[in-house]
C-alpha cells in the first residue's frame, strides 16, 4: 500500500507529453514509410505530412553527458524530440527534411553511427556482464563493443538478405531475447558451483536452494555439524540458478567460464513462426578485452549467411531450407555431441524421418 504523505505510485509520465506535434496530428494515421537511406525512416501520413527519423547506435551504457548531448542534438535538429528503440538505438524525430543531412553529419562527427534500419544488423541487445551483475560468465558490453566494431559495416548498410538480430546475455538467465535471436552470444559456466560451506548456513535456506536446481543436482548434507548442501557433479549443468538464490554457491570460475553461440531464432511472425535459437558453437574461451574467437565466429556466420541466404530469408529460415548438416558444412563449424539435446525434451529434436540430403 502506498505510504500516506509520500508521493508514490504516480507511474511514468504520460507519453503524450513527449510526442512531437507532427505525431500528435497524425497519431494512428500513418499511411506508409520508406527507408531512403540506412538509418533514416520517413513516415508519411494519410494527411501527407511527413515524419523523418534518424536512428543512431549507442553503447547503451550512457553517461549523462552523452544524454545531454543527445538532448542538445534533439533541440538543434528535432525541436527537442527524440526516442529510444527497443534495441537501444537513439532516434531523432524530425519534421524538417532539411535537417536530416546536417544531423547525420553531426552524429558522424560525434562518433554515433547512423544505421540499423532495414536489412541490417541493428544494435546488439545485451545485459550487464562484469559491469554490474553477479552471475556473469563474461562481460557483456566488452563483447558487444568488439562485435559491433567488426559488424559495423552491417549496421550502416542494408545489404543483408533480411534483418539480422544479434543478442548477448552473460548467463543462462538470458536477460533479453537471446533464446530467440538470429545470432545469440551467451556466456556459460562449465563447472559446478564451488560451495562455501561456512557462509551457506548463514545466508541461505537449504530447501529453497535445493528446489532451485533444474536437474535436482543439489542434495542436503551436513558439513562440520552445520546444514549445508552438496552438488552431484554429473547432474549439474552449471546454470547458476543456485547461485542466484544463494551466493554461497560460487558459480563464477575465471578459467572455465566462456561463451557459446546460438543461431536461427526469431520473434517476428513474418513468414515463419517465431523460433528458438539453436546451438552453433558450444564453447569459446573468454578472451578479453577483444574476444577475438567470438568475434571471428560471429563474423563467419554472418558472412556465410549473407552469401547464401535468399532475399527476405532470416537466419533460421535459411537454415531450415538448406538443413542443419549444410549449415555446419558451409560455416565449417564442427558438429559435436554437445549439439544434441539431452534434457527433458531432447527426443523432440531428433530427426524422426529419413528426409536426408546426400
Amino acid at each position: 500500500m502506498a505510504v500516506a504523505g509520500r508521493k508514490t505510485d504516480i507511474g511514468p509520465p504520460h507519453y503524450e507529453n513527449f510526442l512531437p506535434p507532427v505525431i500528435k496530428r497524425n497519431y494512428g494515421k500513418w499511411a506508409y514509410h520508406e527507408i531512403p537511406e540506412p538509418g533514416v525512416l520517413v513516415h508519411v501520413s494519410e494527411s501527407g505530412e511527413k515524419l523523418f527519423t534518424v536512428r543512431a547506435g549507442t553503447p547503451r551504457i550512457l553517461s549523462i553527458k552523452t544524454i545531454r548531448t543527445f538532448a542538445d542534438l534533439a533541440d538543434k535538429y528535432a525541436d527537442g524530440y527524440l526516442r529510444f528503440t527497443s534495441r537501444n538505438n537513439v532516434e531523432f524525430l524530425l519534421s524538417d527534411e532539411g535537417k536530416v543531412f546536417p544531423l547525420k553529419t553531426e552524429l558522424g562527427t560525434l562518433g554515433y553511427p547512423v544505421g540499423g534500419t532495414g536489412n541490417a544488423i541493428s544494435a546488439i541487445v545485451h545485459t550487464q556482464g562484469w559491469v554490474h551483475c553477479h552471475s556473469a560468465a563474461s562481460d557483456a558490453s566488452g563483447v558487444v563493443k568488439s562485435l559491433m566494431d567488426a559488424l559495423y559495416p552491417r549496421f550502416t548498410s542494408m545489404d543483408l538478405p533480411a534483418k539480422l538480430r544479434v543478442a548477448f546475455a552473460c548467463c543462462l538467465n538470458m536477460c533479453g531475447a537471446v533464446h530467440c535471436s538470429d545470432i545469440a552470444v551467451l556466456g556459460v559456466h562449465t563447472r559446478p558451483p564451488r560451495i562455501d560451506h561456512s557462509e551457506l548456513p548463514k545466508i541461505c535456506e537449504v530447501p529453497t536452494l535445493i528446489s532451485s536446481c533444474p536437474t535436482g543436482a543439489i542434495r542436503p548434507t551436513t558439513v562440520d555439524g552445520k546444514p549445508s548442501v552438496e552438488v552431484e557433479d554429473g547432474q549439474c549443468m552449471y546454470c547458476g540458478n543456485c547461485y542466484t538464490v544463494c551466493p554461497a554457491m560460487k558459480i563464477n570460475n575465471p578459467k572455465t567460464d566462456g561463451i557459446s553461440i546460438w543461431v536461427g531464432g526469431k520473434v517476428s511472425n513474418a513468414r515463419h513462426e517465431p523460433m528458438f535459437s539453436k546451438l552453433a558453437i558450444p564453447f569459446l574461451p573468454n578472451n578479453p578485452p577483444r574476444w577475438t574467437e567470438v568475434v571471428d565466429a560471429v563474423v563467419n556466420i554472418v558472412d556465410v549467411y549473407a552469401k547464401h541466404a535468399r532475399k527476405h530469408e532470416r537466419m533460421g529460415e535459411w537454415i531450415e531450407r538448406i538443413g542443419w548438416p549444410r549449415f555446419f558444412k558451409l560455416t565449417g563449424i564442427p558438429f559435436t555431441k554437445y549439439h544434441i539435446d539431452d534434457f527433458t525434451h531432447a527426443g523432440e529434436t531428433f530427426r524422426r524421418s529419413v528426409h536426408l540430403k546426400s
Binding site: 504516480i10 507529453n17 527476405h312
Partner: protein, 397 residues
C-alpha cells in the same frame, strides 16, 4: 572517498574501433570516485576473467518492494566507492518517447545523486540508473517523483510494461500500444511496486505481428495487434511496386506462408480466409497493402527465459480481443490470471511454467475461458488423458 586512479590498459583497448565505446562513456564520468572505482574493478575483471559483484541485503524505497537492485562489490576494501553500487529501474514513458527537457531532468537527478551512468534502456524497458549508494535511494526517489517519474518493477511483481512505437510512429499498429501500455501500468501501480506474486510477471505490447518489442519471447503476457477482416489492397500501388522492379511473384506470392496470394501482373488477390496475418506481404509493400479495419490484439501468455523448466515462447490465450480503453476485458483476464497463479503458483514459478504444471485445460477452466483450437499448434498426440467424470457419464448411467 578514494582518490585513486587506475591504469586500465585492457579497457582502453575498447575505446578503439568505430562503434561508440562504453568505456568512453564510463570515463566521461570518471571525475566521480565511484566511477573511478568502477573502472578499477572492471579492469580487474578483465585481467582475472571474473566478475566482482554480489547480491546482498534487500535495498529499496520505503513502501515499495521493487525498483532498486542491490549490488555490492566483493572487493569492498580495494574498491570502497563501489562497495554499494545499486541500480534504479525508472519506469520509462510508453514507447520511449522523450523531450530534451525530460531527459535533462533525469540527468540532473542522477548527476546529483549517482554515478552519472545509465542504461538507455534496460532489457525490460526501464531507464536504468546504474550505480548508487544505499543512502542515495530515498533522495533519488524523492527527486524523481518530484519531477513526475516513478520506479519500475523488480522482484516478484508486475514488471515495467513496455510497448512498441505503435500508432505514434508506425502505420501498422492495430491498436494503441502506447495508451494500453500506459493505462495498464497506471492501473497496476500497486502490483508494480509491491512484489506479491509467485515470481515476476511481464507485459509487452506490440502493435502488430512483427512484434518489435519481442513480446512473444520475453513477456508473461504478450499483447500483439492483429486484425480479422481483409488486408486492404491498393491495386494501383501494387502495380507501381511491380513497375519499380519488385518481383512480386518471388518476393511476395511465393513467400506467403499460406500460399494465399495471387498476382496476375494486374491485380493482387488475397484469400483472406487463409491468411495467418504474418505481415510479410504488408511489410514489403507498405504503400499498397495495409492491415484490415477490424482491429484488435491476440493475447498470448507464458514467455520466459530458460530457468528453471526451459525457455518458453508465449502461447495463444485469446485469439482476438478488441483493444479499446479502458481495456476492461484485458484487465479482467490479467486479474483472473493473477488470482489463480497468485494462489496456486509455487515460489519462483513463472505463469508459463505454472500453466504447464496444472495443464492449460484446467487453467482455462479456472480463468473462465473456453478452449478453442487456436490455442494449440495441434491437439495432443499423447494418449494420457485425464478424463473428468462427466465425459463418460452418459455411458456410465
Amino acid at each position: 572517498m578514494s582518490e585513486k586512479k587506475y591504469e586500465t590498459p585492457l579497457l582502453d583497448e575498447l575505446e578503439k574501433g568505430p562503434w561508440p565505446s562504453f568505456i568512453r562513456e564510463i570515463k566521461q564520468e570518471a571525475e566521480r570516485p565511484m566511477v573511478r572505482d568502477l573502472l578499477g574493478v572492471l579492469e580487474r575483471s578483465y585481467e582475472e576473467h571474473i566478475g566482482h559483484w554480489k547480491h546482498g541485503g534487500l535495498v529499496g524505497v520505503m513502501g515499495y518492494g521493487g525498483g532498486v537492485i542491490g549490488r555490492y562489490s566483493d572487493l569492498p576494501e580495494e574498491f570502497p566507492d563501489v562497495s554499494e553500487f545499486h541500480t534504479f529501474r525508472v519506469n520509462q514513458p510508453a514507447g520511449w518517447f522523450y523531450t530534451s527537457g525530460a531527459l535533462r531532468d533525469l540527468c540532473d537527478i542522477w548527476d546529483k545523486h549517482g554515478s552519472g551512468l545509465t542504461n538507455m534502456h534496460g532489457s525490460t524497458g526501464d531507464i536504468v540508473f546504474l550505480g548508487g549508494k544505499t543512502t542515495s535511494i530515498e533522495p533519488v526517489f524523492a527527486d524523481l517523483t518530484e519531477k513526475g517519474w516513478d520506479l519500475g518493477g523488480s522482484g516478484s511483481d508486475m514488471r515495467t510494461p513496455s510497448c512498441c512505437a505503435g500508432p505514434a510512429r508506425c502505420e501498422w499498429a492495430n491498436y494503441d500500444t502506447l495508451n494500453a501500455c500506459h493505462e495498464i501500468t497506471q492501473a497496476y501501480q500497486d502490483e508494480l511496486h509491491r512484489p506479491a506474486f509467485p515470481y515476476k510477471f511481464k507485459l509487452k505490447f506490440a502493435g502488430c505481428p512483427n512484434d518489435c518489442v519481442a513480446s512473444v519471447a520475453r513477456a508473461d503476457m504478450s499483447i500483439i495487434g492483429t486484425w480479422k477482416d481483409e488486408i486492404q489492397i491498393d491495386q494501383e500501388q501494387v502495380r507501381a511496386y511491380a513497375a519499380r522492379g519488385m518481383d512480386i511473384e518471388r518476393e511476395i506470392v511465393e513467400l506467403c506462408p499460406c500460399d494465399c496470394i495471387s498476382w496476375d501482373g494486374q491485380a493482387m488477390e488475397i484469400a483472406d480466409g487463409e491468411c495467418v496475418k504474418c505481415m510479410h506481404c504488408i511489410n514489403h509493400m507498405p504503400k499498397a497493402l495495409r492491415p484490415g479495419k477490424e482491429r484488435g490484439a491476440a493475447i498470448l501468455i507464458g514467455a520466459k527465459a530458460p530457468i528453471v523448466g526451459g525457455a518458453l515462447l508465449s502461447s495463444v490465450f485469446v485469439p482476438f480481443l478488441e483493444m479499446t480503453p479502458p481495456y476492461s476485458d484485458l484487465r479482467e483476464l490479467i486479474e483472473a490470471i493473477w488470482d489463480f497463479w497468485g494462489e496456486h503458483g509455487k515460489n519462483r514459478e513463472r505463469v508459463g511454467e505454472f500453466i504447464q504444471r496444472v495443464g492449460l485445460g484446467k487453467f482455462l477452466e479456472q480463468i473462465g475461458l473456453d478452449p478453442v483450437p487456436e490455442m494449440i499448434a495441434h491437439p495432443r498426440s499423447n494418449p494420457y488423458i485425464f478424463f473428468d467424470d462427466e465425459i463418460v457419464a452418459g455411458a456410465e448411467a
